[in-house]
């Protein structure tokens, strides 16, 4: 497959995976490995000081995977910027998946706070990958201020409902000069393939892998879906028609023409 390039860095895989909600670290590692991904997301949270866990980083080979911290939990730009700075201080490269989701029911990204946080973080030298509503105007505005990608949502986080924002994502893809990574809501390999067939540069999946009895096998299925979708996009899909167009010759039938 052709390479994905984000902020000048090439990747062979076009599937990013999240590390949340797996029932065990073993399942998480299986999903990461089977996905073929080279970018994995993590979150930042307070340590439970009465009962500190071992670090998730002891299960992630950071030579193999680019660690992409997110700002999940941030309700406004200020909280997101704080989380991004903490992630960088923790020794990560300055790559950040920017998420600002003040609404607890649908976890929809706040476009205004996302834009404000992106402005600050770009100025501070971060490589910013913003999770955003599937809004083509916002996508252009984020690109103009220097985000490395845009990450429009297919459906609300964790819903597994597929690409419900198809027409808007198509416009974003058409207009973008930076990678478009479809994030959130992709629940099946066919959804990932659909995004890639549309010309998305990559997809990010978490819940669909964690929320299955066999995360490793599902990750491999998503990997194939992403590869199939990308190859189909590069090959060029046939055009759609309203009426049938025969695949077999319309001559030489075994009957006498009248």
């Amino acid at each position: 497959m052709d390479q994905l390039v984000i902020a000048g860095r090439p990747f062979d895989s076009r599937l990013l995976v999240g590390t949340g909600k797996f029932s065990s670290n073993q399942d998480m590692v299986a999903a990461m490995e089977q996905s073929g991904s080279e970018i994995v997301t993590v979150a930042l949270r307070r340590v439970d000081i009465d009962n500190p866990d071992d670090s998730i980083l002891s299960h992630i080979d950071t030579d193999r995977y680019l660690l992409l911290p997110n700002t999940s939990g941030a309700r406004d730009a200020e909280e997101a910027v704080r989380l991004a700075r903490l992630a960088r201080a923790a020794g990560c490269l300055p790559w950040i998946k920017l998420e600002v989701t003040p609404d607890p029911y649908y976890l929809l990204p706040d476009p205004i706070e996302t834009f404000k946080a992106a402005q600050t973080l770009v100025k501070e030298g971060f490589i910013v990958l913003p999770y955003m509503p599937a809004d083509p105007v916002l996508a252009k505005r984020l690109e103009e201020i220097g985000t490395a990608t845009v990450m429009p949502l297919g459906a609300p986080i964790g819903t597994n409902r597929g690409i419900r924002t198809r027409d808007l994502i198509a416009i974003i893809i058409e207009q973008a000069n930076i990678p478009v990574i479809v994030d959130a809501g992709l629940g099946a390999p066919s959804h990932a393939a659909e995004a890639m067939e549309m010309g998305a540069d990559a997809v990010l999946v978490n819940t669909a892998l964690a929320d299955t009895p066999n995360p490793g096998a599902m990750a491999q299925a998503f990997r194939k879906g992403v590869e199939a979708g990308r190859e189909a996009y590069l090959a060029g899909l046939g055009s759609q028609r309203d009426k049938a167009e025969a695949s077999s010759p319309l001559t030489g039938f075994l009957r006498n023409e009248q």
Binding site: G18, G20, K21, V42, L44, I49, S55, L57, N70, A89
Partner: protein
């Protein structure tokens, strides 16, 4: 002295360092990033920073997330 750690008030003996606080809490230093009174504290200052009554400390770590 009282310290606010991750939103909880906890009592500690006077003049402990951040490094000692981590050890007392069973947290390995490489596992966390620390804010002291809303400023990020770089790891090379953990053993030089003596905590004071009323300090606010956030101990943050990476967890699974999407």
């Amino acid at each position: 002295m009282d310290l606010s750690i991750n939103g909880q008030i906890k009592q500690y003996q006077d003049k402990i360092t951040v490094e000692q606080l981590l050890r007392l809490s069973g947290i390995s230093p490489g596992q966390v990033v620390i804010e002291l009174n809303a400023s990020i504290l770089s790891p090379d200052l953990h053993n030089k920073t003596v905590l004071k009554h009323g300090d606010t400390i956030e101990l943050i770590q990476f967890v699974g997330g999407g």
